[in-house]
Amino acid sequence: LRQTIPFALAGNVVAIATAAGSAIAAAPSDCPRVEDVSSELQTLMSAAQSPEQISLAGQAPAIEVTDLGTGFRVTVSGRAREYKDEARDCARRARVAAVFVAVALGPPISSPAPAPPTVVAPVAPPRPRVASPRPTQLELGVGVESALSTPGRSNMIGPALRVAVGTGAVRFVAGMAVLAPGETSVAGVTVRQWHVPVDAGLRVGLRASLLDLSADLTLAAGPLFLRAPDLAAPRSDTVFEWGARAGVTARYQAFGRLAPFASAGAQLVADPAELHTLPGGVIGRAPAVWIGARAGISVGL
């Protein structure tokens, strides 16, 4: 409740009224006269602060000025002060009384100091909830792979597992996939292939945020199972591949420990095996380049 303090005169009484206009106190005084005290008080108060700045918490103070003959008494909200003035200098008494009242009233008696401006810190955009890096990331998913270098495209699919260990920008990574048979035609001979690529090397973080990007460069090896089922006397054979693999992985880290991921990569085979049949002899070579993609869930451990 903000109250202003208007000053009003009621006979010889200095009355302090609330905003609603109710008189608080009154007392007779000839010297000083109430009007003079009021005038002096208004001068003081206006010089110091506007009346609107003087507010009372709760109620208006009672101000009384009493002529004691050889002196006078000023009372403000129960605080009283007597001054001797045998000369009965009424103008001086009015100034002294006004000063006392002004000192007693203001600066704002009970008005609360204006609240310091609330400093509202600029609201920063919500920070991405980047999961704290976990030392081991296990990627479980499905892999698809296709051979680039055989005459006919051979597509394979199967489960894929990959693990990255470390928390720095460069981590150790290893992976394995078991890719189900895919068929291709080499020199007219149908060749069925199973591919189990295994690789290990380094993973380099490219961008760490909600969408985590990384690149892998690894040494790759593993068996390639081959069979030509349509030959009169088919035979299964296994060759050991080795080479290098490069790939990129993107993880969307929005679900705490779990993050969906997708990756793409290519494996270069150093010395692709010759494919041999009778009577055809060497009918071609195993794929020199495998391209593939993986997708699944990454689990932070």
Binding site: G188, V189, V191, L224, L226, R227, A228, L231, A232, A233, P234, R235, D237, T238, V239, F240, W242, A270, D271, P272, A273, E274, L275, H276, T277, L278, P279, G280, G281, V282, A286
Partner: protein, 258 residues
């Protein structure tokens, strides 16, 4: 603790060595039967049901020889004496019956010198049987023959016993090499309806292609690699045969038998 190290080292060395050489994947074979004569006998033929190595009496002969070989050390040497005015003489390697209705038949030949063919000279035969289970119904069907050209060279042609005449060739008078191995291969799709087919290659070049016609009277097939002739000179006439095969797919001159 030395024991585990040695196998590991051995494995590493083997891996490196195998990596240095291109690894090879053996995917199997379309070959149904092969004869390379490297066993030094005719067992590859004679051990098969209906198989044989036969010859008319001496001076005609069939033998394993190391005089010539397409690959390896040995081949079959077939010798006949077919003098002018004389009767037909025969030496041959036979696969009779138990053969697929559709297959490729291949053999390599070596003719040491040019032969003047008076009546006929057959080196490759396909025979028929009118009743599958009755050997008495066997008869001649197609012969791959060599004939003499006016140029002095020799050329192949195919004789059809059903019409007692030569089949038309897709290549005019394919010349037979002398003193060099050459391959004769035939695809025989022995059907009794209009889907039959006979295709022949000389060193990989097709010289006969008959298709869309019935061939043998029954699915029964006999294939022979032979040296059969009449009225040839100079005598004796010797022919070497090596690396014979029956296959589900074409052997071709580059074919590998083992």
């Amino acid at each position: 603790m030395r024991a585990p190290v040695i196998p590991l080292l051995r494995l590493a060395v083997v891996s490196l060595l195998s990596a240095a050489c291109a690894p090879r994947a053996d995917l199997g074979s379309d070959l149904l039967w092969v004869s390379t004569f490297e066993v030094g006998t005719f067992d590859e033929w004679s051990s098969q049901p209906g198989g044989a190595a036969t010859s008319d009496p001496s001076p005609n002969a069939i033998e394993i020889s190391s005089e010539q070989a397409h690959r390896g050390r040995y081949s079959a040497k077939l010798t006949i004496v077919a003098s002018s005015g004389g009767a037909q003489v025969n030496t041959g390697l036979v696969r009779r019956g138990n053969l697929p209705q559709s297959a490729y038949y291949s053999a390599w030949y070596y003719v040491p010198r040019t032969v003047d063919v008076g009546t006929f000279w057959t080196i490759f035969k396909i025979r028929r049987r009118s009743v599958v289970d009755d050997p008495t119904t066997e008869d001649e069907l197609f012969d791959v023959d060599i004939k003499s050209l006016s140029s002095g060279e020799m050329a192949v042609h195919v004789y059809d016993h059903r019409v007692a005449g030569d089949l038309p060739l897709v290549a005019a008078a394919p010349v037979v090499p002398v003193s060099r191995w050459f391959q004769i291969e035939a695809y025989y799709h022995n059907m009794q309806d209009n889907t039959g087919r006979l295709t022949c290659w000389l060193d990989g070049s097709v010289f006969l292609d008959v298709e869309g016609t019935p061939l043998g009277p029954t699915p029964w097939v006999e294939w022979d690699a032979v040296n059969v002739g009449a009225n040839l000179s100079p005598n004796p006439v010797t022919l070497f045969i090596d690396d014979a095969a029956i296959s589900d797919t074409r052997v071709t001159p580059a074919g590998v038998l083992d």
